[in-house]
Amino acid sequence: MSTDLKSTPRFQQPQERRDFLGLAAAWSAIATVFLALLGALRLPAPWAFPESSRRVKLGPVSAFKGISITPEPKERLWVFSDDKGLYVISAVCTHLGCVVAKQEDGSFFCPCHGSRFDTEGKVTKGPAPKPLLHLELSVSADGQLVVDHDKEVGSDVRLKV
């Protein structure tokens, strides 16, 4: 339907066949805008989140030695001490992140969806896909017990003190 227009010569502004300059200009502009947007996308992930460090000093190691269970409700974990050493079980349910409660018999119970865990944190019932996390413990240079919320360890790992 546009044939007659095309055939009208005065509407034809000469189009350069190989417009390198135009292409380069257009693509560099697109690339620049793309880069700017990419940079802007970096913005929602700050260098540091407004929260305490994930590596938390719990206190001097001596304060945990010999006490079988030390609850740290603020950190959502318990510190256990047995004859082999110290270990930590996270109180965050592996199902959907609720905080589990400790039963009198030493097992754990999640109030949100009914998951149950035994004293070592293994799942005994309910939808939780994994046992409760054992977190890495270490001793800082100034003699404090440090727990790292981001590092999971096996349930048989103990910190010897």
Binding site: A29, R42, W47, P50, S53, A141
Partner: protein, 790 residues
Amino acid sequence: MMDRPRTYRVGWLKVVLLLSSVASFGMLLLAAYQENFTAEWRTHQQEFAHVLSVKATAANETSAPAGASVKASDYPIEIRQAFLPEWDKVDRCITCHVGIDNPAMQDQPQPLTAHPGDILQHHSADRYGCTICHQGQGRATDKEAAHGRVPFWDEPLLTGDFIQSTCTQCHHDEEVPQAPVLNRGRQLLSELGCVGCHKTGETLAAEKVGPQLDSVGSKVTRKWLHKWLADPGKYLPEHKMPQYPLPSGAIDGLAAFLMTARDDKIDNAPQPKGDYDTGADIYRESQCIVCHVTKLDYADNPVGGHIGPSLMKIGNKINQKWLVAFFQNPHSFLPHTKMPGYHFSKKEAINLSQFAIEEWTDYDLQDAEAEEPALPTGTPQQIALGKRLFAELDCAGCHELKGSPAKRDAPELTFIGSTPVHQLTFGDAKVPRTTPDFLYTKLKSPRSLHHKFELHPGEDPVDAIWENLRPKSLFSASQSLPDGAEGERLAWLLEQAKKAGVLEKQLALPSGTTAKQAHWLVWALNEVGALNPLKMPDFQPSDQDTEALAIALMSLSEVGAPSKRFDAPRRSKTVFDPKDEFGKLERHYRCLSCHKIRSSGELLASDLTYEGNRVNREWLYHYLNQPYSMRRMLTIAMPIFHFPDEESRLMSEYMANVFVDSDLGAAWKRNRDKADAGRGKTLFQAKGCMACHQVNGTGGDVGPSLTTQVPEFPHGTWVGDKLKGEWVYAWLENPQAILPDTIEPNLGLSDQEILDLTAFVLSLKNPQFQKKNNGDDKNNGDNNNGQVKK
């Protein structure tokens, strides 16, 4: 046919687009690079990781336990922070100062080094962050901004001892542990009388630090007073009186006014001549040198205590009549003085004053003064002027004077530490615009922080000069400016300045335009400091004191802990202020000027808090009557007060019964039967006790001799005669627990060893008195609950 459309040339636009796109692209890349790679803290953390791994390797080789056990590659490079929502703070200081809590990093340079001292053990960086104590800008991630040394950040990093000024946010006690400079500064604020004129909130008590002036007219000579007011340093280099640049007219007035404060009883008392030698004996007995500087040593250094004023040259200053009255009852002249009340009879007082006047007169000075013309007595105008000046300068802030109450109208300092810097007046001074610098400079030289007075175009020079003339009292007598031509009014101003003694009598306005004359007058008045409205005197504190004061002022801040939970527990300070008979005696003899009882008093002499546990009453009773020096090293001892018998008995009994802690050395009471003095004697040798303590003339001279010989003392002076077992036991157990600063080492003796040593020490009784006091032997050196023998 139409023309072919001319082609619009679009090529150059493509070039522009291409160039600006490429340039923008580069700019964005540059920004991305800076954002991600150039930050200083990355370098520090990489360095730190490297140091960690080096240390870890070293530790593995020596198989010694070490704090560092991290591989460099394991060490995450990231922003580290202390998140303190309660304080509204996020401190990222530990992003660069990464080794702050790692003792192994003590040998590293900044910023990787460990925090010095053990402060972090009580104030963990996780809980308290850094900027609470150090200030600075915790959120910043580059050095300059984080240290707060950038425009628009009001709290730059505190340096040096200034860090101590932030302790008071949580530590509300008068004394802050581990902040000695702050404590010293606060003490100075009271001692120098700053609180006499400035309000500082409740933290510091206002006390008049200068002498009471009610009878100053009878006390000193007019000539002396005049010279003192003009330049106290000339008379007494270590004086405490601050200086205010006063013109001679003002000094005339003040001296005239103060000379009217007389005591008729003293003036009219007869003045017999005393005996110098008897006076000298009283002087020695009274141990004046403990509190007063009484002589200069070969290097012209003052010898004597600094509790009371120096006595040098008092003969040039004081009327003997006043001194006699003062010796008889010092507390009626100086209610807050630390001077004890001696029981001087009138005769003794006359003799002592005779000694004092003769001993401490600078005769050269006296001769020189005798040649100076006598000063005329003050005119009523001068006296009135002096009274006004006394009020204007608020002398009553430090000096009690009947009829002249203190105004305390100097700028309030309660929150000076948190006043924004731009509200502080720095004047023309070339100092950095920070609060510590302001305070330091202001204290060091108050007048340097002002704009020099200048005439501004458009304002009437005479009005401006008149408004700014200080001290105002010197001029306000002449009511107000007269009308007339400007030249006449300037001449009138000059006349007033001369009349007030601000300018020299012979000065005259230079010829020329009135503008020139006004300019000259401003210059002349500036020269003598009469155009500076500041009233604060110049204390001329030492650099150290200035810093301590500045720190104490910095600590007076509105900024505090966000909740009471952070407040450090107040150490209950047990003030000793009994209202009973003993208290009356204490107030009369001012025991607390030298002794400490609980938390009150000074530690110039022994701490009496557990005196009842320490010594037996018999010995104490005799000691009060006839004190002797405990150590050969010390030449000074307790003054001989000539206590009446009932007083010394009351005091010894009171101390034996009240100054007691039944827990002290309780183990001795339980286990004394197991003690063996023979074994103790061997131990005494084996532990090297004789390095410091003498027994029968052999041994060192650091601690007190255990066999002090005082022949005339009516009771045994050996340690066994004097001390009680419970105290010796407790002392040997841990000397520092009783006297924190003592240099007796804690030898870590076993219980049995302590028992044996105690038994040995108690067995050291003066054989000369053994027979005489036979009846007491059973109880001696032990719980002596019997009555003191009459």
